[in-house]
């Protein structure tokens, strides 16, 4: 076995040595690829996939009669949510601020701050929405007043069925002046 290990140039052993080095590299890379390619696909499974899925039906949020000029914070509870392997009932997806103006028009705003996604609070004294994280403020209609947010609060689609306000939850991308579903 050791006979071909001569370092003398142009001896037949050098060709074998070089071949072994190359072959070692090639086979080694093959072994690596066999492991890495499936591993990459395996790891990347959730990227760009809908892993958490709520039933798309609108959520019964609140009775119209319970709404006033001041917005109320209403948790939006989905009947069924599929989260990877699990199916769970009655899962809170997020919250909405809902109010009914003097003219009877109803407004439904997502409580997610369009800046970095903190939950927006409502200050009754000032009549403004305020974000506790970075200080963005919005008027009662959700229009941007001050702070780092680049757009106003995101309205959520809703309908009124009988005396109930039915809201569809949408998670929007944080940041940016345009509203894009996440």
């Amino acid at each position: 076995m050791a006979t071909d290990d001569s370092d003398a140039p142009a001896s037949p052993g050098v060709g074998r040595r070089e071949f072994l080095k190359l072959a070692t590299g090639v086979v080694g890379c093959g072994v690596g690829a066999v492991i890495l390619v499936p591993a990459a696909r395996f790891i990347a499974h959730p990227v760009g996939a809908q892993i958490v899925t709520a039933a798309s039906a609108p959520i019964d949020a609140i009775a119209v009669a319970d709404l006033g000029a001041a917005p109320v914070r209403v948790p939006l509870v989905a009947h069924t949510v599929r989260d990877a392997w699990a199916t769970t009932n009655d899962v809170a997806l997020g919250a909405a601020w809902i109010r009914r103006g003097k003219d009877g028009t109803i407004a439904v705003l997502s409580s997610v701050c369009p800046h970095k996604g903190c939950a927006i609070g409502y200050a009754a004294q000032t009549g403004r929405f305020e974000c506790p994280c970075h200080g963005a403020t919005f008027d009662v209609d959700g229009q941007r007043l001050s702070g780092p947010a680049e757009r106003g609060l995101d309205p959520l689609p809703f309908s009124v069925e009988g005396d109930r306000v039915m809201v569809t939850w949408v998670q929007y991308d944080n940041g940016g002046a345009d509203r894009k579903p996440a």
Binding site: A2, A23, V31, I43, W85, A86, T87, T88
Partner: protein, 568 residues
């Protein structure tokens, strides 16, 4: 680049470390040395696949099975990753066994290599630990019951057996703590032990070479390295090929503590299982003692056989150990033969049932997800699960079977053919013949004795009551006349909720009619005084009533194959 590497070398001294990998191989390159690198590759494969699985696995009774089923059936290459991880363990046993045999035959345990030998044995014990802790994590029938048995024997160990087992198990029965503890052992504690032992083994083995040298020392690179890489590639190819051939790691249905399961060990524990089963009252002694005996015998080798290689003691030890392991292998093989398919029909049937549950549970989990209570709840997501449970509990005793006391409910009910048969012979056994009050009441309905076309018209009238869109209007009109002018209307109303002797037939065959019949069959516009059936309006919740009615409505137009498909 060179400067950067110099900078790095001054700080961490990587060149010396790298040089140690190039140290000459004692005795020159050989295929035997490749076993070590094959083992290294297998350990790396286990670490990589283990880390991949940890990206998805969730160790709790509610999520363990569900998350494993998710990996198996929904994550790309999930089945391959699980398969390689599971069979990688078997490959480790094979390679470690080969290494151990070669080392022993070559006297590689003798002075000054005793420590290398003992560290190797400790590593082997740690590998067994991976196997025991790993299978439980699946929380399927196999993992649950196999581990139950293993821990059962551990509990019987004298002294602190019970306390230690409960410590590992996290209490006196299987639960969330069992999973978190087994997971921590499997994925943190044992890997840490492995790393330490591998480092110690490598240091000890490097000092003298793993085996007594036969040739002259020679550099590892590239001759030994090439052999290592080729063998590693072959081992990996064999592992992947086998795990695909074996259908991956396999996954039974979720662990069912109430179920019947024929727990059998992994192949490397088969001999132990076989011996335990013939050991009678000594089963605990054998189960706990045999592994200790094996490790003890192997560990004692360097102490007993310490003279020259190829001496008498060595030969006796090798033949003795060889015979011992051959006997164990034979026992294991014959035990596995007894369980092979076709050897025991009852066992095959139980296994088929387990395999059926596995297919069904996994298909449901993929389609519907697993409800929060955990794996077993997946069965409740099957179509009409609740309704069929209610049917069995509340309805079947009277409406199905030979001992029934009411009409047969099910396929074809309220169809034209069914209604015709009912009109022509209301007291047939499949209709009201077995209903005590109706069958024996003097006011009970006589068979309709009319020409065929008139029966047709009445059938069509009742068929139209169900709301069917395809009723023949002319026949219905004729049926109405016959109904109102003939004897039907003596006992039956056909509008609203007017009380009558027989049931008011408004909406006969419709969903509302059926649900009303379930809610309150004894109402004055239904069977009234002739009613035999309990009232369910207060027994069942509105949701239960709805689902039961849905099921019965579905059943009418279903075929037996559709019902069988619900269980697939």
């Amino acid at each position: 680049m060179g400067k950067l590497l110099d900078w790095l070398d001054v700080r961490v001294g990587y060149r010396d470390a790298a040089a140690s990998w190039r140290a000459p191989v004692a005795g020159g390159p050989s295929l035997l040395h490749t076993l070590t690198s094959a083992m290294a590759l297998l350990l790396i494969v286990q670490a990589v696949t283990g880390a991949l699985l940890a990206l998805y696995y969730s160790p709790s009774t509610g999520a363990a099975w569900a998350s494993v089923a998710y990996i198996e059936d929904q994550v790309p290459f999930g089945s391959l990753v699980r398969g390689v991880h599971r069979w990688g363990m078997s490959a480790i046993v094979v390679v470690a066994g080969a290494h151990l045999v070669l080392t022993a035959v070559r006297g590689g345990y003798r002075q000054p290599r005793e420590l290398t030998w003992w560290i190797g044995l400790a590593l082997l014990a740690v590998m067994m630990g991976y196997s025991v802790t790993g299978f439980l994590l699946r929380w399927d029938q196999y993992g649950y019951w196999a581990t139950k048995v293993e821990l059962g024997y551990a509990t019987d160990a004298p002294g602190l057996g019970r306390q230690l087992t409960q410590g590992v198990q996290g209490g006196n029965q299987f639960g969330n703590l069992t999973l978190t503890r087994f997971y921590a052992l499997h994925a943190i504690v044992l890997p840490a032990l492995t790393l330490g032992l591998v480092a110690a083994w490598r240091r000890a083995a490097r000092a003298h070479g793993p085996l007594p040298a036969r040739g002259t020392d020679a550099p590892a690179w590239p001759h030994q390295t090439f052999r290592n890489v080729v063998v590693a590639a072959l081992v990996l190819a064999a592992l992947v090929a086998w795990s695909i051939h074996a259908g991956g790691a396999g996954l039974d249905g979720p662990a069912d503590p109430t179920g019947l399961y024929d727990a059998r060990p992994q192949w490397y524990f088969r001999p132990l299982y076989a011996l335990v089963n013939v050991a009678g009252s000594l089963r605990t002694v054998v189960a706990l003692g045999l592994p200790l005996l094996i490790v003890g015998l192997l560990a004692a080798l360097p102490l007993v056989d310490r003279r020259r290689p190829r001496g008498t003691v060595h030969a006796v030890a090798m033949v003795g150990l060889g015979g011992f392991f051959l006997a164990l292998a034979t026992l294991g093989y014959s035990s596995a033969r007894q369980d092979r398919r076709g050897a025991d029909a009852a066992l095959d049937r139980r296994r088929d049932a387990i395999a059926h549950d596995a297919r069904r549970a996994r298909a449901l989990a993929k389609r519907n997800g697993v409800p929060a209570p955990g794996g077993l709840a997946v069965y409740t997501t099957a179509p009409f699960y609740e309704a069929r449970r209610l049917w069995t509990r509340e309805c079947a005793s009277c409406h199905a079977g030979d001992d029934r006391k009411a009409p047969v409910l099910g396929f074809g009910n309220a169809s034209r053919a069914h209604t015709r048969s009912l009109l022509l012979n209301p007291l047939a056994p499949e209709h009201f013949g077995k209903s005590p009050k109706i069958a024996n009441d003097e006011n009970t309905m006589p068979a309709v004795d009319l020409p065929v076309d008139e029966v047709d018209a009445l059938v069509e009238l009742l068929y139209a009551e169900s709301g069917a869109k395809d009723a023949d209007a002319a026949k219905v009109a004729r049926g109405q006349t016959l109904f109102d002018d003939g004897t039907c209307s003596d006992c039956h109303e056909r509008v609203g909720t007017e009380p009558s002797t027989g049931p008011n037939l408004a909406g006969y065959g419709s969903r509302a009619y059926l649900e009303g019949m379930i809610r309150d069959p004894g109402a004055s516009h239904r069977f009234g005084a002739m009613n035999d059936m309990p009232r369910f309006a207060d027994e069942l919740s509105p949701a239960q009533l709805t689902s039961l009615t849905d099921y019965l409505m579905w059943l009418r137009t279903a075929a037996p194959a559709d019902v069988a498909a619900l269980d697939q």
